[in-house]
Symmetry: C2
Subunit: 199 residues, 2 copies
């Protein structure tokens, strides 16, 4: 990966972010040095500071972009339908989206404590907006009697944790296909909220 002197700003920026995402996910933000990131990209450490104000900003940007894109993508599946249909769609979307971006998901859930207070507040707000979309589905289902929920808010936390947990064990090419996992988890989610999956 020897590199020559020259102008590569259009590709170096994204490459820095990709390397940081991978390294932060693998070893943790605090355990990764700017020198490691630079080595992965093939530039010197000082060069990184042309593309980020400091290490903290690099982490924040990765998390903010991930959550912003997540919210944008979620908007597309948020259209009407019964609470049951919406919950199925949410579960399938959540699993598919998260399995496609294991590193970004891992960082967004694990590196919150390495954010500055201001950055933490921003990220938490974005995450809250995402979780609220599931809460809204559960509340609607509870209100119309389609779901049997003693506590919609708690059920939301439980479902998010259950669905996100897929990223901890699923391996591409394993015993279960992605579609099978999506189907089985959606079914468990429906059962957990007191609604049998329509089949």
């Amino acid at each position: 990966m020897a590199r020559k002197i020259g102008s590569h700003s259009e590709i170096t920026g994204p490459r820095i972010r990709e390397a940081a995402l991978r390294l932060f996910a693998r070893h943790g933000f605090a355990a990764v040095s700017m020198r490691q990131i630079a080595a992965e990209v093939g530039v010197q450490a000082g060069t990184l500071y042309l593309y980020t104000a400091d290490k903290q900003a690099l982490l924040f940007d990765l998390m903010q972009d991930h959550l912003t894109e997540l919210l944008t993508a979620t908007s597309q599946i948020e259209t009407g339908g019964t609470p049951t249909a919406r919950l199925i769609a949410f579960a399938r979307f959540h699993i598919g989206y998260h399995l496609d971006r294991p590193d970004a998901v891992f960082i967004a859930y694990m590196e919150l404590r390495n954010l500055s207070p201001e950055n933490f507040a921003t990220i938490e707000h974005l995450r809250r907006r995402y979780e609220d979309r599931l809460q809204a589905i559960l509340q609607a289902g509870s209100d119309c009697g389609e779901f049997a929920l003693p506590d919609a808010r708690m059920a939301g936390f439980a479902l998010i944790a259950m669905l996100t947990g897929v990223t901890g064990w699923y391996r591409e090419g394993g015993r279960l296909s992605r579609v099978e996992v999506q189907t089985l988890y959606a079914e468990m989610a429906l059962r957990a909220v007191g609604r049998r999956a329509p089949d």
Copy 2:
């Protein structure tokens, strides 16, 4: 917290471990320095090495002790009964035990990547033994038709993630009591595996 020269080996050791547990959970293993731990205890950094070979051993011992105690405690609730009763007991135990030890739980799930390969293998084996106890309950329930499970192994992963997620949002003195949370989660777990909670 000023301290004088003298002999305190019997209390310094545990205090170091308590401080390390709290700091690792709060800021992450890689982000905490030996100096910080020493300052929290009220000794100098060099003193820590009378009680631990190095920083890595400190982390490993905390995780190993937590999981060993978890397995010991689990053995007590593993006695017979129907799969339904056993799953309820497991869910209630898991939540109660984890809510009592938020720092140890957090570290055991978050700092795996900061373990050396050998230490990682040991810890993973212990965790696997714990998860197998839930898998055994689910498999038994599936075999005798008490649970409707397309895939007992996947359901085990889903339930563990759901139950452990409680530590992420539950606050003592909040809207829901610990017993209420235990009851509601056990109910969701039973529903998720295709068995209605007996009531």
